[in-house]
Every structure is written in structure tokens, then in C-alpha cells.
Symmetry: C2
Subunit: 239 residues, 2 copies
DNA sequence: TGTACATCAGTGAACGCGCGTTCACTGATGTAC
DNA sequence: TGTACATCAGTGAACGCGCGTTCACTGATGTAC
């Protein structure tokens, strides 16, 4: 009836996610280019053409994996951030960073899929963007709360933004509906790119021979970058 | 005689670099996985097996491209930095950053090859490391000069490095033969990772919809990160 | 509850493709005397 | 300067492989009356 879930529906949903899981497994072994429909089908004990009942092409399967990855990262980071007391701004920032790192280390190949080199000839659909901006939006939330509470430390000798940059930043602020000084938003973008630069360096091996394993370097950096964005380094006075 | 360069030698050197050039062209079109020996040979008007007289396998060709890319980036950045007056520390830092960006934008696929996701199943030989550390070494040079001149601004309220991190950093300092406070070296590593995080975001499309085109954001960030590492923001007093 | 029809999942064969690598060979270039 | 031999570049055919995608089909599951 209209209770929707027929046996067929359930079977379809299950197989769809099994296909994605197997594809993820191959991603981990052979990378994005190595993920093949035939191999997925083989591993699942079905004939290769059967996969086409679930995904119309290899590219669509890849797209699904990319969206899933952004979503999983967003979920993980949001969960980590939500667990921290709202007033603990530095703690929330740290939770975002550590949540991202934990997720990235847990599934390095999915991380590489979304933050590594773009797959050549592949165009990300808009649905990915919606997921991709969740993390930067979380960062902005923390800063906005800090701004509202008056606890943000804006450096006095900040060089002014150039007109072009100021307008780009203003448009961003408008698009996400947030009122923050341009300098604060700019520093947030810098901290955001630093975070992923650091994660990529760690995961892609650029820290080998220096700060690898990077646990302590990561935590230290997170603290410094919190200060960089103007967040107070200590928990707020519980007054 | 012993004047070495026979016609054969010259022909070999020329074809070797033509093969690499064609391989780079394919890199730009199809990415690292898309670069194929057969296609290279085809484009050069030779039979595919002939390429094996120059590179023993596809992987060795890729390795050559990776080393070349690090080398080209190192050369470009060194040239940019050398052109700046020694005493102009912030200028040297900016030259390093802009040199890296100019090179990356000029050959985005070679950039992706060395700073994007690692090619699965591929192990970088030590020769790449020698080239890869040239840029961070340049950064350290600038800071060392600043330290020697007493013009480095070390923040007073710096959180102390944890013992593990302090030792990692000390080992790095020893390995590269430099005497700098651990906090300065740590900030250098942070700035270094920020630089490449920002470049990757720009090249891989994460800034679309915010600070793309990123020229002004880049320059602004370079200035802020110079301050972050302790470099004086102005040209030195010419006294 | 039972029948007739429509929908859908999965099959198996095929198309056409490109790939990396090996190997025995021909012919040109270089070297030693 | 000339000859004999060794080195090397490039050929062409072959091996064995895996890939994405299409298509006509069988048989099971769902739906409407």
C-alpha cells in the first residue's frame, strides 16, 4: 500500500549501500581512478551490467561517494562541536578541528577524494557544495557567538582589506547571513585553509621527518590558530 | 673521444626530455592515472616499446615527472626569493609565497601531482625529498636571518610546546642545522602548511563562491602570516 | 482471495577499446686497433 | 684512414589483461481490479 517500504524497496536500498561500501573499499586500495564498476560487481557476486540498475554510470557512483564523504565529514564535525558547551568558544573550535582530523585519519581515501587533487574531467554537482560548506559554516558560528559575546580579540594593528577583498568578504557575509567584521571573516578563511593544509600535509606525507606523528603539532597549532582568529584562549569566566 | 657528447648522447637527452614533456601534456589532460606510455609514444610518432629504451617502466617516468616538478617549484621559488634585498625579510617571505603560487597556477597539474592526493601504490623515492624540502628551507632561512638581526617579534604569551613536540622540533632544527627558538620553527611549519592549504583550496576549487579569484586574499594572507611567524611587517630601517 | 498485467532486478553475451610489458629483429652509430 | 666489432635505438608483433557500456532476455515481485 502506501506504507511505501516493499521488499523490493528494502532490497534496493540495501544493495545500493552495499555497492557504495564496496566502491569505498576499492577507493582505499586503488584510488578514485582504480574504482571500477566491474570490480564492484564481481566482489558483490553480481554481473557487471546489474550495477547499472543502481547507478547509471561510473561517474554517478563516484559522485555519490563524494557527496557521502562530505556528508560524513560534516556529520562527524557537527557531532564533535555540538558536544562542547556553547560558551567554550576555543573548545568548540578545537572540537571542529579535531573532529575533522579524526574523520580524515579514519578514512584517508575518502578525505583524499574530496580534499585531494580533483579527478580530471570530473565536475562536482551543486549537491556537493551544500555539504562542503558545513564545516566552514561551523567555524563562522563559533566566531559569531564570540563576537556577540564581545569576547573576540580583534588585533589593533590589522592591515586593512583591499577594496576587492573587502567586497568579496562582504558578499560571503551576506550569502551566509552573518554580521562580522571583514577582518574576522578573513582570518576565519585563513584558519580554515590552514586546517586542511595541515591535514593534507599529515595524510599525504609532507610531515614525514619532522612533526610526524602529528598529534601534538596539531593540537598546538589548533590553539595558536584559535588565537589567530581572535578567539579567547581560555574558557570563559563562568560569571 | 672523451669530449663525451656524441650525436647519440645528444639525441638521447633530447628524446628523454621530449618524452617527459609529452607525458606532462597528458598529465594536464588526464591526470596522473591517465598518463600512458602508449599515448606518449603515439604522440611522439614512435612505437610504444621504444619508450622503454628511455624509461624502464611507467612508474619511473612518473617518478621523473615528480622530481622535475619539485625541482621546478624549488627553482622558481628560489629565483623569486633571491631577487629580494636580503634585509627585506617580509619581502623575501612574500616572494617565496608568490613564487610558489605563480608556479602552481602556471602548471596546476604538476602542482596536483606533488601536493594533491598521493598516487595509490606509489612510493616516492628519497630523491623527491631532497627537492621537496627546498621551499621550507627557504622559509627557515628568512627566519634565521631575522633572528640573527634581532628583528623577529616573538609573542610573549606563546603557549609552551609539549615535550614531544619540543623534541620533534629540536630534531628538525638539528637536522637542518639551524638555531631558532622552537616556537619560531613551529610557527614556520604552520605558515608553510597554511600556504599550501591555501594554494590547494584555490587550485582545487574550494574558494569558488568566496575569495575566488584569490589574488588579493592571497596577498593579504601572506602579510598576516608573515606577522604570525614573527617577521616585521615593514621594510627594515635603512639605518 | 485470485487473476492479469506491469514493473523491475539480474543475466550473459557482446562491442570496442586501451593498457603495460616482452621479445626477437634490423639497422644505424660509436669505438678500438 | 679503414676495417671489425660492440653498442644501442627503434620496429612490429604478440601476450594477457581489464575496462565501461549496451542489449535482448528471463523470472521474480508488486499492483489493480
Amino acid at each position: 500500500m502506501n506504507a511505501s517500504r516493499t521488499a523490493r524497496d528494502r532490497a534496493r536500498a540495501e544493495l545500493t549501500s552495499e555497492i557504495k561500501n564496496e566502491a569505498r573499499r576499492q577507493l582505499a586500495i586503488a584510488g578514485a581512478d582504480g574504482m571500477s564498476l566491474r570490480a564492484v560487481a564481481r566482489e558483490l557476486g553480481m554481473v557487471s551490467s546489474a550495477v547499472y540498475r543502481y547507478f547509471p554510470s561510473r561517474d554517478e557512483l563516484l559522485t555519490a561517494l563524494i557527496i557521502d564523504a562530505y556528508q560524513a565529514l560534516g556529520d562527524a564535525v557537527e557531532a564533535a562541536e555540538t558536544a562542547v558547551a556553547r560558551a567554550d568558544l576555543a573548545g568548540r573550535w578545537a572540537a571542529i578541528c579535531r573532529g575533522a582530523r579524526t574523520w580524515a585519519i579514519g578514512q584517508p581515501h575518502e578525505y583524499a577524494l574530496i580534499y585531494g587533487s580533483p579527478v580530471p574531467g570530473y565536475q562536482a554537482p551543486p549537491a556537493t557544495t551544500t555539504q562542503a560548506i558545513r564545516l566552514p559554516l561551523l567555524i563562522v558560528d563559533v566566531l559569531r557567538d564570540g563576537w556577540a559575546a564581545g569576547s573576540l580579540v580583534v588585533p589593533a594593528d590589522e592591515p586593512p582589506l583591499s577594496p576587492v577583498l573587502a567586497e568579496q568578504i562582504a558578499r560571503v557575509a551576506e550569502a551566509i547571513g552573518v554580521e562580522l567584521p571583514g577582518s574576522v571573516l578573513t582570518r576565519a578563511l585563513i584558519a580554515w585553509s590552514q586546517l586542511f593544509g595541515m591535514l593534507s600535509f599529515e595524510l599525504f606525507g609532507q610531515f614525514v621527518g619532522s612533526v610526524q606523528p602529528a598529534n601534538e603539532f596539531f593540537d598546538h597549532t589548533v590553539a595558536l590558530m584559535a588565537t589567530f582568529t581572535g578567539l579567547p584562549s581560555e574558557c570563559p569566566a563562568t560569571a
